[in-house]
């Protein structure tokens, strides 16, 4: 069992990211990251039956409570969050407790936010079981729930004590969700590492086939790139915003579709293509580079086109409440080149409207 350990450097909030196969069968794995006595494992109806016993066995006899939430982005809201608080209080958990997020991005975001708020802040550990959570949402301390009027609008920056990524858990991940996770992997190449983008082009079929070595490499590089960006700008005052490539567009798609029809990664994939087209309009990205991006997105089984029912006005409405909007003007993450993202609000509005109107074509 070959385990790689990365580190997210944030002073006294630094933590390790452990990546390996069958990590969740390593006895004592969790012990170094558990503070006080209390433990609450938060998972969902899909993941609980698969891995709850495995994780409980890692606690070396320590008592843990658990809560099993319904599965799905539509449950990522204050109401479900309150179920976690109720469980913590029913079991008399105090400030020394540790929450363990066992599941995908929704479980990680909600558990992290619950940990940020419970008694004004307790520890938590991320055990992501989807590719999207492993390469993106479990790393970096962004936690949130959705509001009916916008995605991730209510949340906190709250760093975990550790992130434990067991590649083996991906064996139970449905194909569509697996592909959705690859969208965030592509993102890292696009925003900050053109060599990684080339590597992805060369290894697309191995990745689609979940070939262990390629998958392990993709996860490791993704986490390393994310850790690098986050450690430079923990609270998204500047550079961290490039991690939102495709997300401002993507969130608008998700909000309009009600978080159900489109998976987050699928919306981000279409959103990244929209960002690429906008970059092309501004004269930054030549057409062949846009074609490379569309080609990689397509070859990894992800959509290049947005849904047809969204007009530019609807997009702009959703995008203007997005976190990336500042001072009234919508800030976009665009590409100067493959491997070089910029954040800008300096563009002709007409170009944005044109890109939005052509997004489904």
């Amino acid at each position: 069992m070959n385990t790689h350990t990365l580190s997210l450097d944030l002073g006294d909030r630094s933590y390790p990211i452990l990546i390996g196969k069958a990590l969740l069968r390593q006895e004592g794995l969790l012990s170094p990251y558990l503070g006080g006595d209390g433990i609450l494992i938060v998972t969902n109806e899909t993941i609980g039956p698969l891995y709850l016993d495995t994780v409980t066995a890692l606690l070396a006899g320590r008592k843990a409570d658990h809560i099993i939430l319904p599965d799905g982005e539509q449950y990522k809201n204050l109401e479900t969050l309150n179920l976690i608080f109720s469980r913590l209080l029913e079991c008399s958990h105090n400030r020394d407790t540790t929450l363990i997020a066992l599941g995908g991005g929704v479980i990680g975001d909600m558990t992290g936010f619950a940990a940020a708020c419970y008694q004004r802040g307790v520890d938590f550990i991320q055990i992501p079981t989807t590719l999207l959570a492993q390469v993106d949402s479990s790393v970096g301390g962004k936690t949130a729930v959705n509001h009916a009027l916008g995605k991730n609008m209510i949340g906190a920056f709250h760093q975990p004590k550790a992130v434990l990524i067991d590649i083996e858990t991906l064996e139970t991940l449905p194909e569509r969700e697996y592909r959705a996770g690859l969208a965030e992997v592509i993102k890292y190449g696009l925003i900050i590492d053109d060599e990684f983008f080339c590597w992805l082009e060369e290894h697309a079929s191995e990745l689609l086939g979940r070939q262990e070595q390629a998958l392990s490499h993709a996860i490791e590089v993704s986490c390393r790139l994310k850790a690098k960006v986050v450690s430079a700008d923990e609270r998204e005052g500047g550079i961290r915003a490039i991690l939102n490539l495709g997300h401002t567009f993507g969130h608008a798609i998700e909000t309009q579709q009600g978080y159900n029809d489109w998976l987050h990664g699928e919306a981000v994939a279409a959103g990244m293509v929209m960002a690429a087209r906008m970059s092309q309009r501004l004269g930054w990205l030549p057409e062949p580079e846009v074609a490379r991006i569309e080609s990689l997105v397509t070859s990894l089984g992800l959509p290049c086109r947005a849904p047809e029912n969204i007009g530019s006005e609807t997009y702009l409405e959703h995008m203007s409440v997005d976190k990336k909007a500042r001072g009234g003007k919508i800030r976009l993450v665009l590409l100067k080149a493959i491997g070089e993202a910029v954040v800008t609000a300096d563009y002709p509005q007409g170009d944005l409207v044109a890109v939005l109107n052509q997004a489904s074509i």
Copy 2:
């Protein structure tokens, strides 16, 4: 118009506390503390009609949205919090917005927590209009809402950009709420400043009569003492816990009574007397000193006795989920002397049970 400015020193999170009469009529008062364009004033049905126009006039023509919440501790919950988020999103507020809390402790706690969570953190300003909020809850960055199973169980540490205390707003404060605020004033004397306690004994009747000079002095000293404790321990890792004198007992009373029958300050007053009795049992506080405390509490129109319907088991149940509980043992704030508080879990359980059972006698 005589304005005093104190400072809460917390590095880059430092902020001023302005105290004065008719402060809310000083033009341009708010300008230095407003960042971006957006402003949302959060107030309630009682305070809104009295001061919303006054505060709006302070914005020097800048556009502000507002939301008027129902008045009362029973509304300090996630459901009401969500009304604030909805309003922010309906009005397309982004990360650069500033929330203004105009009201008592409930409004301040909810507005501060909403600011902590909205888009993972925006600015806010405290304009406390009750004595309790002016001397205690508006200073120090503790924000929270209640859960059905415990008070202030869901919250965040989030410091305001400024606290603006206009003593004139107390003229509209009902007598019972005014007295409840005096409980927290007594607290500062008890935990950290025996001279201030003596001063309170000497000026009890002026304070009860809301005599301006005495009131102004009491608020200023209270804020200075609170700022001193908070700047030494922002996130309550140690010394800050002494600010909870009477609160662990008091919260149990409030939880049991459903936050309605007893005002927070009244529960804290009875709770401080319980803490004094416990301190006496441990041999720390002589009987005459306990009598002085009871005498001051009584002379300021506050209860020394807890409600009759709470037995020790009910107390212990509520107290064990309280934030002050650590590692299973309930930590209590007790008094070594008037002006000297300690936090301890080192006491015979039988003494605590005896104090709880005799609290209403």
